[in-house]
Amino acid sequence: MLPEPIQNLIFALERLPGIGPKTASRLAFYLLRAPEEISGSLAEALTDLKTKIAFCQECFNITVAGRERCEICESGQRDGSVICVVEEPLDILSIERIGAYQGKYHVLQGVINPIEGIGPDDLKIRPLLERIRRGGVLEVILATDPTMEGDATAQYLHPRLKALGVHVTRLARGLPVGGDLEYADQNTLLRALSGRQEMG
């Protein structure tokens, strides 16, 4: 019914998460009417996304293609003796936003999922262990999600990191700011209680 270029764009947009057929056609027709620079810059950004992005060979965060290491790994300001282990590059963004962490990162690019068949070998675990074997690391902070999968990943890493002589910590788990005790689940409440802190 529609000319092929429009139809193709609608199909392409529909494949994105959270976009259905109606939104896809609305976006497509908007781009058709909008000045060329909008669609032009979008097209350019999309092409660059795959060709100009690579993974840091040290921590596996995303970085500009052609660079061996990402900005954080290169930086002389960051403390290389602490490594924070996260699931995805987006998690780094969240931690960087608080501006209180001065160490470096390691991105696992996934999480152990026994039911889906994602095991330790599918993640960037070996490079992490190699990185620590090279020396200079004192503490590893496990910042995987507090889900069954994140916990399984932390449980898997813990003895293997410990064997390399580093101090292993896990992000604390407890009550969120503005939360309500009444709705807390046993797991969270139990850990909040056992991890309670002296008021100081």
Binding site: P17, G18, I115, E116, P120, A152, Y156, D185, Q186, N187
Partner: protein, 252 residues
């Protein structure tokens, strides 16, 4: 049958998958309606009131509202969190196997099956508290197969009907049970099974858990029995399960 606008179920969360911006889709095994998929809106937000109650392996009561496509979780309250299943990786692996097996064998057919629900919750409880979950998991496999209608014939030859004698036999997944040496020898696709392994298999099949616990199979018999059931399950499902491979990986 029209669904009520809002209803309550008791369920075990089999697995969860991220959905949309901050939602999760849960696969549940409910006491009231068997397997059921539901949406938990906003369950990935850090302040979600539901998130902690609907992690995999948790036994939970849920208030569900009829949704456009899938039912929507409106309230969640943990009945049993089986916490050690999350704190010990070996137990996580076993629980994942238990849950995956049920997930693969069942469909969302809104049929209640109290016996399966009970077997599931009892098994998760046993893996939680027993130092060695081997027996609990084998007992679960054998009884789950029975409840699903795949109970293997272990007392007479599945081909000629002769009572099984006290000698090594063959096992045929196709025939759904044991074949006597006369019928099984030389047949393609049958596996040899020792008298010892068969003895424990039969014992697990007709005992309750307390009875099964009295059995003390030797390590090589344990391995044989585990392998036998695994092959039978793989045959029935026509594909490999994910969690046995995971269990092997974490042992390294």
């Amino acid at each position: 049958m029209t669904e009520p606008r809002s209803y309550r179920v008791e369920a075990v969360v089999l697995r969860h998958n991220d959905w949309g911006e901050a939602d999760r889709i849960l696969a549940l095994y409910t006491r009231e309606r068997g397997k059921l998929r539901v949406v938990a809106k906003g369950a990935r937000r850090i302040k979600s009131r539901k998130a902690g109650h609907i992690e995999p392996f948790t036994r939970v009561t849920l208030q569900l509202a009829r949704g456009r496509d899938l039912p929507i979780v409106t309230q969640a309250e943990t009945v049993d969190a089986y916490l050690p299943l999350r704190d010990e990786l070996a137990k996580t692996g076993q629980a994942a196997y238990v849950v995956e097996l049920l997930d693969r064998f069942t469909y969302e057919d809104a049929s209640e099956n109290h016996a399966i629900f009970r077997l599931l919750t009892e098994t998760l409880g046993r893996i939680t508290f027993e130092p060695d979950p081997w027996l609990a998991v084998r007992f679960y496999e054998v009884h789950l197969l029975g409840l699903l209608g795949f109970r293997p014939r272990l007392f007479e030859c599945a081909n000629c009907g002769e009572a099984v004698q006290a000698v090594a036999q063959f096992f045929s997944a196709l025939a759904g049970g044991v074949l006597c040496p006369k019928c099984g020898a030389g047949l393609p696709g049958v596996w040899p099974v020792s008298m010892e392994a068969l003895k424990f298999f039969r014992h697990f099949q007709r005992s309750d858990y307390a009875g099964a616990q009295r059995a003390r199979p030797a390590p090589e018999v344990r391995e044989e029995l585990e392998g036998l059931v695994q092959r039978y399950v793989t045959y029935l499902l026509e594909r490999e399960l994910n969690s046995p491979d995971f269990i092997k990986q974490i042992k390294r």
